[in-house]
């Protein structure tokens, strides 16, 4: 495919402008995503300030080993995603598919570990509003912590599931030979989304898992 084959939509002067619009449009979308998660982060900050003791105590009920492993798994998936985008920039069809597949595998491992953790919480009666038992003096604010835990990690996991769907769609397109050195915008944009979801987790990990470790 030569450069001349790339067709841009009629409202754009040229392909570069179209690419710039798509790229910046994705960043605007990610800005709205920041605000979407931001409400929960703001609520978390407020309640952690109000109930530091309960948040520290409740945080120690999370599995720090699984949390750390999952952080590493997700960072690893961002690495393979970056390599998928790089392959797309080079127009290498096979490597795009391999790296996208690796990213999906790592994303699935992350969700599997997350599910294991959810199951542990269910066994330990730490599901607010359904089955929650905790040291009585801290029970109510600890339930608030776990509400944030499930809401934040749940919405994050939903983003991962959507991401895996997008990656699958990219693999199909890559298989059909739709991407080239000149045209690989969808791979780049899904890459941005995937890295963004990684960043959310980079903040969730310390805010949820590491609050009260130093207090024993």
């Amino acid at each position: 495919m030569s450069n001349g084959d790339i067709v841009h939509a009629h409202q754009f002067d040229d392909f570069a402008q179209q690419h710039e619009a798509s790229w910046n449009g994705m960043w605007v979308f990610l800005g709205t995503e920041v605000m979407f998660f931001g409400g929960m982060f703001a609520g978390y900050t407020m309640y952690r300030y109000l109930y530091p003791q309960a948040f520290a105590s409740a945080s120690n009920h999370l599995d720090i080993l699984l949390g750390t492993i999952n952080t590493a798994v997700l960072i690893c998936s961002s690495f393979t995603m970056a390599l998928a985008v790089r392959s797309a920039q080079l127009g290498a069809r096979k490597p795009i598919m391999i790296f996208l597949l690796l990213t999906i595998v790592l994303g699935t491992v992350f969700l599997g570990i997350k599910f294991t953790e959810y199951y542990q919480k269910w066994v330990e009666h730490l599901i607010p509003g359904y089955d929650f038992s905790y040291t009585l003096s801290l029970a109510r604010p600890a339930a608030i912590f776990f509400s944030f835990y499930f809401a934040l990690t749940g919405v994050h996991a939903l983003h991962m599931i959507i991401g895996i769907g997008l990656l699958t769609w990219l693999i199909v397109k890559a298989h059909r030979g739709r991407f080239s050195r000149e045209y690989n915008t969808p791979v780049e944009l899904v890459g941005l989304y995937w890295h963004f979801v990684d960043i959310i987790w980079i903040f969730l990990f310390p805010l949820l898992y590491l609050v009260g470790r130093h207090l024993g």
Binding site: A16, N24, A72, P206
Partner: protein
């Protein structure tokens, strides 16, 4: 044609390595009592550092146009307003008491 920056695999691997080291450090530091709010400060500082590496290099913000920077910075700015505007209210009030459980 669009101008793009193709980074080497080695470079991405180096960023990946730094991110893993920072992950292990933040988990390790969490067990050390730094006193007062310093544990929280350290955890957030490391998270911000990791996020910056991802944004600048994995998301290519470093090689993007100024307009992209504006969009990225806007997200952070509004988040700060959201969290700042919430917490300043809480900090300057009498503490709220919750109704007793059940």
């Amino acid at each position: 044609m669009k101008s793009e920056h193709i980074l080497s695999v080695k470079f991405y691997a180096a960023i990946f390595g730094i991110l893993l080291v920072l992950t292990l450090s933040t988990a390790g530091i969490a067990f050390v009592d730094l006193g007062g709010a310093w544990n929280a400060v350290a955890a957030i500082a490391i998270a911000v550092g990791k996020a910056l590496l991802v944004v600048l290099y994995f998301m290519h913000a470093r090689y993007s146009s100024r307009l992209t920077w504006v969009f990225a910075a806007a997200g952070v700015l509004w988040l700060m307003i959201l969290i700042g505007g919430t917490i300043d209210d809480v900090l300057t009030r009498e503490s709220i008491t919750l109704p007793p459980l059940s």
